[in-house]
Symmetry: C2
Subunit: 254 residues, 2 copies
């Protein structure tokens, strides 16, 4: 059983592409947000109830839309809809836009996959470096198929989560795959300021991503994508900064 979700919502072309790939490998169930949830990170819905509605999206595929966040979708799938079933794989995406580098933190697509990985389910988040609605998923589908096939044949070991990003170039320009670390970078933010119809000031988030990686650092996803490789970052949910535990041990004595 393969569970599919995303953060762009159940009607996004990216999830359709992923369903088309995944159904070649086994039974697919889709539980995805009923509205766009980009940037929702690992948000969960605590203070209001959730709705789940069965929908008719793809012939022969059981699919549900959920009123919650991407992580809510995985929790509901695991604990309610598929409670007595074994989920072999959770796939999230294909996201419209990059989730490389630090974007993994903000991404609902990656957080949904991470939530499944916390439940010990092999999980893969796929993202294409093209935000547009009519992005060309041809290359992304090709590599998603290869990666899904490999993971089903060789289940993941300690690390249960892969962050896969696919460059937006033509399929025949993709240079191959690079397993690598998360690149170091950040968003340089600006806020678009304006006045609402009642004259009250508002701020609207915008910005651009800036890499902190030198061109010499080849073993990270920013480099890989810049050079038209598909990047795969094995990812986890232990945020401990181990190297600094010893340095900070003096805090035990305050």
């Amino acid at each position: 059983m393969i569970l599919i979700t995303n953060d762009d919502g159940i009607v996004a072309p990216g999830i359709k592409a992923l369903v088309e790939v995944a159904r070649q490998f086994g039974e697919v169930v889709v539980v995805a947000p009923d509205a766009p949830q980009s940037g929702q990170g690992h948000a969960i819905t605590l203070h209001k109830p959730l709705k789940l509605r069965k929908v008719s999206m793809w012939e022969g595929i059981e699919a549900y839309e959920c009123s919650g966040t991407p992580v809510d979708c995985v929790k509901l799938a695991k604990n309610v809809l598929l409670k007595d079933k074994k989920i072999d794989l959770c796939l999230s995406g294909i996201n419209h836009g990059a989730n490389s580098s630090i974007n993994i933190l903000y991404s609902g697509t990656m957080s949904a996959a991470m939530e499944a990985s916390i439940e010990n389910i092999d999980s893969i988040g796929f993202s294409l470096l093209d935000f547009s609605f009519d992005a060309d998923f041809t290359g992304a589908k090709m590599y998603a198929a290869k990666i899904i096939k490999s993971v089903l044949e060789n289940p993941l070991q300690d690390c249960k989560l892969l962050n896969v990003n696919i460059p937006a170039c033509a399929p025949d320009e993709i240079q191959g795959v690079r397993v690598c670390r998360q690149g170091n970078g950040t968003w340089v933010e600006e806020f678009q300021e304006g006045k609402d119809p009642r004259g009250e000031k508002y701020y609207w988030l915008t910005g651009k991503f800036v890499s902190f990686e030198d061109e010499d650092n080849t073993e990270n996803d920013i480099w890989a994508l810049k050079h038209n490789y598909v990047s795969i970052v094995p990812s986890g949910h232990d945020l401990t900064h181990y190297k600094d535990i010893d340095k900070l041990i003096y805090l035990n004595n305050i």
Copy 2:
């Protein structure tokens, strides 16, 4: 300049406790959500504008409520309100409820502090293991003061983020501080099911936290808190599962 935020909202007793502690150490500016934002994780608001309103909460303290998530609050503070100022320290909390172990992922309080740490600002998230509105913050304030003083005197090095949890015992029962790693555990979820006023089924998230740590594993925050220590986990935002990069390198050849 000390920036303070939280996820329980600007009117929560926990942020009041933190303001009372922090103002002893320098100028404080508060930017916090105008409504509870627990469980918002690293969510940001992309698809609608944000409002910021100056409020009169604490005599002599500049304070704003924000219509967005905790991470939005930090982004607005850094890029708009305090654009030309140096933020020496970002404090988040004091959260009503634990953010130890895996809860760091779901917590708006910790994600706000993490967002500041990404911006290279020394950041500390504080959480008290008591969800209630009228929790006793006496012990939490005592240890928050010690930790803030120490970090201002000895700025953080590589790791810019501390996840501090304080046990809910009486202040004189706190055994001291343990700098340690993030404990391993998960939530065993159940959904409360019901029917809404129109007869449509709903699901409401609930569950309980389960530790995967043996009692022999003493160097983690679950153990520390169980034994009435204040836990401090140095935390980061690089989610790479380094140990598995080599194991998965065969994916380069698919």
